[in-house]
Structures are given as C-alpha cells and as structure tokens.
C-alpha cells in the first residue's frame, strides 16, 4: 500500500476522522506515556491526516500507547487519537514476522504475581 492508501485504510478501520482535529493539543497534554513517545498523540493525528505514515510505521511510539483512552475522553472534538494509533499499529503487526512481542522473551519479564490478564493484553497489543 502506498501512503495515501495506508492513510485511507487507517481512517477506515479506526472510524476516526482526523480532519475534525482543531490542533488544541489536549491529547498530548493528557497522555500518560508522552515522555516515552517519539511521536506524540497530536502528531499521530496530523501526520495521518497528511498521509505522512512512513515515520509512524517505523516508530516504537506505536507500542508505547497505554490505550488508557484519556485522549479519547478529553478531546473536545471527538477525534479519538488512541484509535488512530491502534489502527497504525495493526498495520505493522499484521505483517508476517512483525510481532513486537515473542513468547520466548516473556519469562524474563514476568514475576509470580503478574496477572494473566496482562499477558493476554500484551499479546493482543504487540502480536498477531
């Protein structure tokens, strides 16, 4: 897919219209993972709107979004940035061999109290 097709696909599956964004920066003001991200929520929205997806596809920022939905809740224009980030992430992990989390790396990350819910969620987020 070229950039324009990719943008259309991201917009379609996320159900988000990035043109509704008025550039207030509420998403990035409220984001708890902001410091971990190379591209911040408001940049996702504007870069997707502009069809500038290549840098996003390569960025680890895709895996830093906590899906806490604070940006979705607080956006005054109903843009729902977290859904856009998720749609881009799916474009990456749906490619063969692009899983961000491999089962063999899990044992080193967990302790005995870790709830199973966390592993399921992480695999849903990071792998296909």
């Amino acid at each position: 897919m070229n950039n324009a097709q990719l943008r259309d696909e991201v917009i379609r599956i996320s159900g988000v219209n990035p043109s509704k964004c008025m550039g207030c920066g509420k998403c990035s003001a409220t984001c708890p993972a902001y410091d971990e991200m190379e591209f911040h929520p408001h940049q996702f929205v504007s870069m997707i709107k502009n069809g500038d997806l290549a840098p996003l596809l390569k960025s680890d920022s895709l895996f830093r979004c906590l899906s806490c939905f604070a940006c979705v809740e607080r956006c005054p224009r109903g843009v729902e940035p977290a859904k856009l980030i998720e749609a881009v992430r799916l474009q990456v992990i749906r490619e063969k061999g692009a899983n961000h989390l491999k089962p063999e790396s899990v044992p080193a990350m967990v302790d005995e109290d870790l709830p199973g819910q966390l592993l399921v969620t992480a695999f849903r987020k990071y792998a296909k």
Partner: protein, 664 residues
C-alpha cells in the same frame, strides 16, 4: 383567466450557475395563462424592477411569478414593484429557485428541471390568487425590555430618550447584570463599575423608565404594536417604596451564612441583603429559603431595626398587567457549569476557579477587597495558569461543551493576565491557548502588550490534567510549538468557561413565539441585514441573548435594537398581514379544534342565527378569527375537520393547485 408574466432571475451565478434560466423562461412561457416570460441577471435591481413594471403595462398582466431567491429575501421588494405597476401586491408569487434549488443541486439538468417544476407550481397558484387588502391596528407607545444588564439598560435609555415609555423587567433584585460583577474592561482597562453605575442611576431616574426588579415575565399575549404582558413581581418581603437602603437590617440579620451569589459563592451574605453597594433599586430583599422568620416564625430582628417600617413578612407575589407596542429581549448569558470538566479538578480544589470568579477576586468590592489571594488558604500566589476554551469549540459531547467560540475569553484572559503582572510582577502567569482571537478595535494590540510588555507566558497548547497535591496544583499540559509536555506547579488555575444563554431564555422564547437556534440563542430575522430583530414581528434582540458578545458590541446592538423599537413606536398605525385565517360559517360545526391549536389566541366562538332551508331559524356556534391577532400560521386550517377554516393567500385550493402542478 389571469394574464401572467414570468420573470426568471439569474442572481448573477447564484442561480444561473446551476439552472439554465433561459430554458426555465422558455418552458414556463407555455404554461396556461402565461402571456410573457423572460429572464434577467438581477431581477431585484432597479433595471429588473423597471422591466417588470413595463411588462405589466405592455402585456396587461394581472399576475406575476418571479423565479428567484427565497420569498423571505425579496417577496416584499416585488410586491412593492407590483403595487407601483398598479397591481394588487398579493398577485405576486415567488418560486424559490435559489435556496431550494440552485444552492442545493450541483447538476445543471436536475436543477433546471426542478426550477421549471417550482415555476409551474407558482403559476398554478397565481391563477387562484385574489387581491388582498391589509387591515390596520393601533400601536401602544410603550416598550418592554426583558433583562436589566448593560444591554437592557442601554436599550431602555435610548428608547426613553426618544420620548417613549419603557419598562425594564429584571429577575434579580438589582439591575446591572454581569457587567456589575466585572472588575476592569478591555481594551482600555477602565473600571466596569465606573462606567456602568452612572448608567444604572440614569435609567432609574429617567422619567420615562420604570424598573420591575426581582420580577419575571409570566405571560405574553397579543401581537406587534399590541402585546398584553403579565409581569410577576416576586415578594421581596420589603416595601420598595419605604426602604431607604440604609442597610441596618443587613447588619443585624443573624443568618449570615448564605452563599453570596454576587461573589459567586466565594463569600457569604445575610438572609436579608442588598446585592452590592451600588444596587438599583437600592432596596433590601429577604431570601425566603434562609430567613428564620419566614421559615419558622422565629426572629423578626430586621423588622425591629428598620426605622422606615419597610419589612413586610406577609408580602405576596404580585402580578402586573401592562400593554406594550414592542418587546426587547436582553436576557444575557452565564458561564457554563464546570462539573463535566473535572480533569481540571474544579470540584476538588478551591484554587481552581472560573474567569468570572477571578473577576470577583480582583475586584476592589469583591471577597478579597481586590487582593489576589489563593482561595484555599488566603496566601499570595506565585504561579497562575489560565486555560482558554474550556467548553468552547467543543463538539465531542453535547452534555459537556458548546460548539461555538465564546468570543470574549481571549480578551478577558489577556486582561486578567496583564492586570496580575501589573500589580504583582513576582507572579508567573501562563496562558494556554488554542488560537488567540482578537478581531476588535485595539484588541490585538492589547493582547500583544500582555506578552511583550507584561511578560505573560502564552503557550500554544492546553492543559490535560490538574492534580491538587500538598497545597499545589500539579498542571500537566502540552506545549505544541516546542513539542513538549509541561509540568507546572501552580497556585491557582483559572478556567475560561464557555458562555451560554441564560436559562430563562428558552421559556421566554416559547412565550414570545420567537425562534432560537440549537444553542438557545435567539435567532435574528436576517443574520446580516436584520441583526437586532427577531423574525417575530415586534420582538427585538439586545446583547448576548442573540450570541456571545463583549461590552462594546453589546452596547452597539442595544442602541440598534432601541432605534428599531423607536421606528415602530413612532407609527400611529401598523399595516396588518392580510394573509390571515377566516372561517366559512356555513361549514363550521363549532368543534373548537381550531381554537385548541391556535398559538395566538386569535379564535373565539359566537352563537349565530342561521336561516335553514325550511325557513326555520337555528342557533349554531361558529368560529370567528380576529384578523388583528391572527399571524397566518395556518395551524387551524389543518386542524379543521370540516374544511371551514381557510387561510387568505394560502387557500386550500391554491396549495392543492401547486401540488397538482408539481405532480403532473
């Protein structure tokens, strides 16, 4: 048979861009009764109107169809043209081929086909048109102004100065409105009280003005020139004519813990109170929800200390009936509730306040006597964060915010920030903005002074979360120009809350049958050309009830509304609308369906004698329409089960002829 002329307007490219006007004129020329059909670039221009007049004479026309813009735009224009040409003005029909055709279609063949159909319908109607003559009604030379803020005060003063009587109805115990609560005014920084309170005195002392304070409009009947209004005067338990406003009762009242609405609940007032020192009328009011005497008969201290004998615990609400020729709505605005925006912790910390609360905090007559003190502990603050657009430009959720820009926030925030830096140079002031909107005279210069001369830190971005912790407000925000997330420890956060029309506006609009938009702002008759008139005749708009406005704009509009009222009251008689309902008595069975749906109370019944075919006389109850009260809405014609009720100019057979023409 009518001799009909058809005039198809291009409206420049507005119509001609999507409708083949020549084809429309050609097609309509073949309709029965059409003896002349033509097109022209601007039919409403002098040349266009002259062409119509010449055609009437040349072709002996008896009816005219103009295919043009909406009749709301130019029906009156073409009726005047017809009159000048010697025709009855009601022999003109407009086919709206602009708003209802060219503007909604993109495709020329589709637009042209529809324009022809609309034109045919108008031709079919003209065949059944009959000359109509409007009646006359007298004008009551007194105006009612609803709302006593700066808008209502200015409108009332201008009308009164022109020599007409004016009544102001204000629901609060004093006039003055929001402006009385403000500290300084932008962009000149003169004090609000210094420019408002003299006007309050002027209006109170004006021989042509009466003020009904602590009162509300409870019923409106009648029509332009002849409104019958009932005003409810709430019992204030103080005789207005006796009270001298000395304040002895206020000092002695033992119930001192009532949240003071004038200071937005930031301090307390007694149960008997005068809202502020410059109140008009300067008369005390007892708050029945908190007065011990009224609640359980225990106290009576105020009556004992009142040397004027003004206290009256038995006072009842009173109703006053008055006639008016014109009504001006000046019901104003309020900031929206911050309850749904608790990411700013408004409900969690006293140090998070709205901008209107900030006005009171910096006002010399406010709860801190004008000293900037942190509300939670009275300490001097060191860092202030202002947040713009809280609930404005918000489309995410209708329960939360407003889609529109509240218009005044950019400027008052610049004012607040500048005043703080001026008085307290040690205080750091941040303003988070999305856009800074300053389109007014000397407005942008004012905002730039805040930045360049006063060192206010304007940051493009917004605040995402405020966390009160250990006496500070931890503010998390975005700085979009530097692509950073900021963390600021603030002492106070000030929210520029969106503004909305006062809650009393919606029921008032229903009483006045005046239209409103989805945000409950009153709609103007024309957004550009009739901005201070409601589409309902005799109802005028002043101030923020029509849309967000600052003081200069409000005062201009208040004066404009007054001039429209003066224009109306200067007339001795008004021409009525002849397109009113009338009942065919022979068919009416007196069922009351029409009277039940009439919004104007124009229909009454009378018992009438009818000569029957067998020469006997029968007494029957039949409907009668008062043509002066009827507004021609047509509800009754739809409700009438026997078809007795009909509307002049829009008779049932005329409408059906249009439908037939469209369906052919």
């Amino acid at each position: 048979m009518q001799r009909i002329g058809v005039f198809v307007c291009w409206c420049g490219s507005n119509i001609a861009g999507t409708v083949d006007v020549k084809a429309v004129a050609e097609a309509l020329s073949h309709e029965p009764g059409v003896v002349f059909s033509t097109d022209y670039q601007y039919m409403c221009s002098q040349a266009g109107q002259d062409m119509i007049k010449a055609s009437v004479a040349e072709h002996h026309l008896t009816g005219i169809v103009v295919c043009s813009c909406s009749p709301r735009m130019h029906e009156a224009t073409f009726r005047k043209t017809a009159t000048a040409a010697g025709l009855n003005p009601y022999m003109v029909e407009i086919a709206n081929i602009r708003e209802q055709c060219s503007w909604v279609h993109k495709d020329m063949p589709i637009g042209t086909e529809k324009a022809i159909i609309l034109g045919k319908a108008a031709v079919a109607k003209v065949h059944l048109n009959a000359p109509l003559t409007p009646g006359e009604s007298p004008v009551t030379k007194r105006a009612l102004v609803i709302g006593g803020g700066i808008a209502g005060i200015q409108t009332a003063l201008d009308i009164a100065d022109a020599g007409f009587k004016v009544d102001i109805v204000e629901k609060k115990p004093t006039i003055g409105g929001k402006m009385a609560q403000l500290d300084k005014t932008f962009p000149t920084l003169d004090c609000a009280a210094c420019i408002l309170t003299p006007k309050m005195v002027d209006v109170a002392q004006h021989e042509n003005v009466r003020i009904f304070s602590y009162s509300e409009v409870s019923e409106v009947k009648g029509f332009v020139g002849n409104f019958d209004v009932t005003i409810k005067k709430h019992a204030r338990f103080v005789k207005e004519d006796l009270c001298t406003g000395c304040g002895a009762c206020v000092d002695k009242c033992p119930m001192k813990k009532v949240p003071n609405e004038f200071n937005l609940g930031m301090d307390n007032r007694p149960a008997i109170y005068i809202p502020f020192a410059q109140a008009v009328p300067k008369v005390a009011t007892i708050d029945p929800a908190h007065c011990n005497m009224l609640k359980n008969g225990k106290c009576g201290l105020c009556a004992r200390v009142c040397t004027a004998g003004a206290i009256d615990y038995t006072q009842q609400d009173e109703y006053v009936q008055e006639k008016y020729g014109a009504i001006v709505v000046a019901t104003g605005f309020n900031p929206i509730s911050m309850d749904k925006f608790d990411e700013f912790a408004y409900n969690q910390s006293k140090d998070v306040i709205t901008s209107l609360e900030f006005e009171r905090l910096t006002n010399a007559a406010g709860p801190t006597a004008g000293k900037l003190l942190r509300p939670s502990d009275g300490a001097h603050p060191h860092t202030l964060v202002f947040v713009q657009c809280v609930g404005s430009r918000c489309t995410a959720c209708a329960e939360k915010g407003k889609e529109y820009c509240s218009k005044i926030c950019c400027m008052y925030t610049a004012k607040h920030a500048m005043l703080v830096r001026d008085k307290y140079p040690d205080v750091d002031v941040y303003v988070f903005y999305i856009d800074v909107r300053t389109p007014g005279k000397n407005f942008d210069e004012f905002y730039r002074r805040a930045v360049e001369e006063y060192g206010v830190k304007y940051i493009k971005g917004t605040v995402g979360k405020v966390v009160p912790e250990n006496g500070v407000l931890k503010v998390q925000a975005s700085d979009l120009l530097n692509n950073k997330q900021l963390h600021i420890d603030a002492d106070m956060v000030v929210l520029a809350a969106a503004i909305e029309p006062d809650r009393s506006a919606r029921p008032l609009a229903t009483m006045l049958t005046a239209s409103m938009d989805t945000n409950d702002f009153f709609t103007e008759a024309h957004p550009k050309l009739r901005p201070v008139e409601s589409p309902t005749a005799g109802v005028f708009l002043s101030g923020a009830c029509q849309g967000p406005k600052d003081i200069p704009e409000t005062v201009s509009q208040a004066g404009a509304a007054a001039s429209k009222v003066i224009g109306l009251l200067a007339k001795d008689k008004l021409m009525g609308n002849p397109c009113v309902a009338s009942s065919n008595e022979a068919m009416c069975n007196g069922c009351s369906s029409c009277a039940n749906v009439c919004p104007y109370g124009a229909i009454t019944y009378e018992d009438k004698e009818f000569r029957m075919p067998d020469r006997t006389v029968a007494l029957r109850r039949v409907a009668k329409v008062n043509p002066a009260v009827c507004q021609g809405c047509g509800c009754c014609t739809v409700a009438c089960p026997s078809g007795a009720m009909d509307l002049n100019g829009f008779k049932n057979d005329q409408i059906l002829a249009e439908v037939d023409a469209i369906c052919k």
